[in-house]
């Protein structure tokens, strides 16, 4: 075994492919429209990116353990609706309403998790059912009306969650720190703790893990709860920031979030996951959407470009992988 230079080690990392893709993408968009790298645009892109990113981080752990959750999008819409309903109806103060929404989300995650692990129903069906129930509930409790959101600004909770300030020309929201913090914690958990080892084992070979006394079911249930909570959290910060609580928000996020995780290198069938990869995957997808608007693609062709870029990047990725495997 020869020792490697740092560059070689970088190239050998599984996250190298996605990282290269991200850089290529940024370079391309900047070449076409230099506004792309303006502080305003960077701040703007980051804002929503980190909200989706928070869900993607939790989903990374869940997918590593061999399951996934299709209900995150509807949870993203449901939690803020619940919070604002409780608050607007004067049932609870703001902080308590926030807490209750988080608890309800965790309870729903618990329910999905138990369904999957105890009844042995594929997570596809359980979370698809849950998607419909949760989305339906937000519609039903609001009667379809968006909730009013005027009175959050300035409360200490709102400041902690989405307060914004300027760092030089960059407008930074507090949510960025939540994202970075969560990425650091979950990355640490996945790679360097006992829990992380159990998560990977649960996804890699559940029978073997169980035979070693790993509580595979409990690990998965906990991750379902984490994912649901993170989706609710992301939904609420997004709602406070955009001052909107619409029962429809978050529609379709499930596929986008899973795509972020998979592009980052986490395996769809479990056993291998990377938080760093997910951070990069999240950036790849959101930067792409921002860039497409910025370079002025016609509105109706938007989806064609998003799709074609995903396909193109995956082809590039596969080519990088192959070169890399052949090269060593």
């Amino acid at each position: 075994m020869t020792t490697r230079t740092p560059l070689e080690r970088l190239i050998a990392m599984p996250e190298f492919g996605p990282l290269a893709l991200l850089l290529v993408e940024i370079a391309l968009f900047t070449a076409i429209n230099p506004t792309f790298l303006s502080p305003l645009n960077i701040s703007n892109t980051l804002t929503f990116t980190v909200e989706l990113g928070i869900i993607a981080l939790a989903m990374t752990l869940l997918m590593t353990s061999g399951e996934f959750d299709l209900s995150v999008g509807s949870m993203f819409g449901f939690a803020p609706v619940l919070m604002w309903t409780l608050f607007n109806a004067n049932i609870l103060p703001f902080g308590a309403a926030f807490l209750v929404a988080m608890l309800v989300a965790a309870a729903i995650g618990l329910f999905s998790g138990l369904f999957v692990t105890r009844l042995k129903i594929p997570s596809f069906l359980v979370t698809l059912g849950m998607l419909l129930v949760v989305r339906g509930t937000s519609l039903y409790i609001t009667d379809g009306f968006p909730q009013r959101t005027w009175s959050a600004e300035g409360t200490w909770l709102a400041t902690i969650l989405v307060g914004d300030f300027y760092v030089g020309p960059f407008r930074i929201y507090a949510s960025l720190f939540w994202f970075i913090g969560l990425a650091a914690i979950l990355g640490y958990v996945l790679n360097r703790t006992k829990a992380g080892n159990w998560i990977q084992a649960a996804g890699g070979n559940p029978l073997a893990a169980r035979a070693r006394g790993v509580k595979v079911g409990r690990v998965k249930v906990a991750l379902f709860m984490l994912t649901a909570s993170c989706a609710a959290f992301a939904g609420m910060i997004s709602s406070i920031r955009t001052s909107a609580a619409n029962p429809n928000s978050g529609t379709g996020y499930e596929l986008e979030v899973i795509a972020m995780v998979v592009i980052g290198g986490t395996v769809l069938t479990g056993g291998r996951g990377t938080i760093l990869g997910t951070v990069i995957g999240t950036l790849i997808l959101r930067v792409m959407r921002n860039g497409i608007v910025l370079i002025g693609v016609p509105g109706l062709a938007y989806n064609i470009f998003v799709g074609a870029i995903i396909l193109g990047m995956m082809a590039l990725h596969s080519w990088l992988e192959r070169r890399h495997n052949a090269g060593v």
Binding site: R192, N205, R210, R212, V214
Partner: protein, 252 residues
């Protein structure tokens, strides 16, 4: 002296297939039992019952005389039973060190961080003890090991976490000369340090080298027990296994 494990009238059906048909089986304290039998005899099923991997249809299990219910691997571990299965019990994506300590990871520091130094040091020592001479870095994923190297990792794990009862289902499969000696030495030392062991193998020579008592199964039933390897020959046992009585007639 009560037995460590006593299984009585164990019956196991898979759908219409009767895999175990009223088997009695016991393991004493500090005893190495060899479990022999042709393919499909029910050996793996019997030990899977004991390790909580499959539920029994009927029968009772006693641990040191007390009836126990083993419904899951967690129960089995609580009873002090440690198993190496015939089919893979490793997680291919994880490294050697992570597999070795799976479920019993050493941690350090206030945040429950894995103690990689301790894990890697122990891994190196264990691999050498099983007989692996090559230097394999402990962070190599299992998926890039050879068949025998994988088996060696599984054995090393059982060695390290030696429990009251260690079950080895065909542990010497895939193993080379040195590694096989490593396993046999380990079984001997296990007894010396107070453990019991069930040893399954088709290579009767290996069985004869280490066990105290041989049990033979055939088509889901126990057909012989209490065979002392010191008082019989490999050929005699082979005859029992293949179902030919000593005088050359088929048994069944």
């Amino acid at each position: 002296m009560t037995d460590l494990i006593r299984m009585e009238a164990i019956r196991k059906q898979y759908g219409n297939v009767v895999a175990l048909d009223g088997v009695d089986f016991r393991v004493g304290e500090r005893e190495i039992v060899g479990l022999l039998g042709d393919n499909g005899a029910g050996k793996s099923t019997l030990i899977k019952v004991l390790s909580g991997a499959v539920p029994i249809t009927s029968g009772t299990i006693r641990l040191r005389g007390k009836p126990v219910e083993i419904r899951s691997t967690t129960d089995a571990i609580a009873c002090g039973i440690e198993t190496i299965y015939q089919d893979s019990s490793l997680v291919p994506q994880l490294s050697i060190a992570r597999n070795l300590f799976l479920g019993r990871e050493p941690t350090k520091g206030p945040f429950g961080s894995l103690d990689f130094e301790a894990m890697h040091a122990a891994a190196n020592g264990l691999l050498r003890r099983v007989g692996i001479e090559k230097d394999i870095p402990p962070d190599t994923p299992i998926s890039s090991l050879s068949g025998g190297e994988r088996q060696a990792v599984a054995i090393a794990r059982a060695m390290h976490f030696a429990n009251d009862l260690i079950i080895l289902d065909e542990p010497t499969n895939n193993l080379g000369v040195a590694e096989t000696q490593g396993v046999l030495n380990f079984v001997r030392s296990a007894r010396a340090s107070g453990h019991s062991c069930i040893f399954i193998a088709h290579n009767i020579h290996h069985v004869f080298q280490v066990v105290d008592r041989i049990v033979v199964m055939r088509r889901g039933r126990k057909v012989a027990d209490d065979i002392d390897p010191k008082e019989t020959t490999v050929e005699a046992v082979e005859e029992i296994i293949t179902g030919m009585t000593a005088d050359g007639r088929p048994v069944a």
